[in-house]
């Protein structure tokens, strides 16, 4: 039972509580950096890092933080880990750091992080809170990779920098530009909704 609920805690970030397609959180990085798979992956991992360590610090200090200033305290914790992630990327992955630009510091105000701290980490013991953080971060990363793959394939005819359609393919440039971001995410969300509707219908018919 215990292992099963831990597994559920982990997998909900991919399915029913997916931060991007279901909760519609963290939209700025989702739309801005998913012009390619690599950028999506980089942003996803950076967010996962910040989320995990912010939750770790939160579960350690939550007993001593007064209720009135908790948001301010947690925000400063998050900002500290974002600074660490940003300096690390600048030092070891300069091209990625350049591609993500000002969107790395924007992780500070990514509602997924403060949302998980407020809604889950402060109310649960350390174990589930950390599993939840990893699950949510990984679910977010997967969403970014899916969106990045779609936009990279359609917008530049490549996947991970490798051309896949040959020279005859005329890339839909708009997909790597801002309108393509909104369009791709809107259609993906509709597909997600349609799948969810169908699943609930199947469950109802099965009864």
């Amino acid at each position: 039972m215990a292992t099963k609920s831990i597994l559920a805690e982990f997998t909900k970030g991919f399915g029913k509580d997916n931060p991007t397609f279901v909760q519609v959180l963290g939209m700025c990085p989702t739309l801005a950096v998913t012009t390619s798979v690599v950028n999506g992956l980089g942003m996803g991992l950076a967010t996962l890092f910040v989320l995990f360590f912010s939750v770790l610090i939160t579960v350690l200090i939550k007993r001593v933080v007064p209720d009135g200033v908790r948001i301010a305290v947690y925000t400063v914790v998050i900002a500290t880990f974002v600074t660490i992630a940003d300096l690390f990327m600048r030092a070891y992955a300069p091209p990625l750091s350049k591609a993500l630009g000002p969107y790395v510091p924007l992780i500070v105000v990514n509602c997924i992080i403060l949302g998980r701290i407020e809604a889950f980490a402060t109310k649960n013991p350390a174990g589930p809170a950390l599993v939840d953080a990893v699950g949510m971060g990984a679910g977010f990363t997967v969403s970014l990779i899916i969106l990045g793959a779609i936009r990279e394939i359609l917008g530049s005819g490549k996947l991970l920098g490798v051309s896949i359609f040959g020279s005859g393919f005329n890339p839909l440039l708009v997909m790597v530009l801002p309108p393509g971001a909104f369009l791709a995410l809107g259609i993906l969300m509709a597909i997600f909704n349609a799948l969810k509707d169908r699943n609930s219908l199947v469950v109802m018919e099965g009864r």
Partner: protein, 192 residues
């Protein structure tokens, strides 16, 4: 001239919502009615201008002089949170009518990424004091423009027959896509 270019770029060419994707949460959340969208826009513009000014002062007068630019993010977020609180208290004392109009939107602004983005961009682009002020104000006007147009469209969308899976955020994003496409027409306005 330079200042004018910064302003035009921030309002239409590089609109914060439609080309930098910041402030999407209120853009989707508070764009159901035109008057609510307008109040949100005014509140954001107000805080954005102040933020740009205050973070410019902090960066140039404190962080750079003490050689601590790595404290940027922590300093900015604390300043923004404090500023929103101050603005809220100030408006409540001086103009109850305005406070009533902006009321619920003010605290929401702290977590609006567009505000932090203004602070980051003006620091990244090394604007001087006047440029930073104009940039903050123009970015807010751009946000207001986008959210009010969006609210106008969504009021019409209410009575439209949208296919079930597209209802909610999906159709809003697709509408935003078309809007962004229209705004791309402005990109020829400023060369380079």
């Amino acid at each position: 001239m330079n200042v004018l270019l910064i302003a035009i770029a921030a309002v239409v060419v590089n609109n914060f919502v439609l080309s930098y994707f910041v402030g999407i949460c209120p853009f989707i959340g508070v764009s159901k009615k035109i008057d609510a969208a307008l109040s949100m826009g005014i509140a954001v513009t107000f805080v954005m201008t102040l933020t740009s000014i205050v973070t410019w002062l902090i960066t140039d007068l404190i962080l750079v002089r003490l050689n601590m630019p790595y404290l940027e993010y922590v300093a900015y977020i604390v300043v923004i949170a404090a500023l929103v609180q101050l603005v809220e208290m100030f408006i409540r004392k001086t103009s109850p009518a305005l406070y009533k109009a902006l009321g619920i939107y003010l605290p929401l602004i702290t977590t609006n990424c567009a505000i932090l983005f203004v602070a980051l961009l003006q620091a990244m682009r090394n604007y001087n004091f006047i440029q930073a002020t104009v940039f903050g104000f123009a970015a807010g006007i751009g946000f207001t423009l986008a959210i009010v147009i969006m609210a106008g469209i969504r009021e019409q969308l209410e009575i439209a027959d949208v296919p079930r899976p597209f209802r909610g955020a999906a159709i809003t994003l697709i509408t935003a896509s078309i809007l962004a496409l229209a705004f791309m027409g402005f990109s020829g306005l400023i060369a380079a």
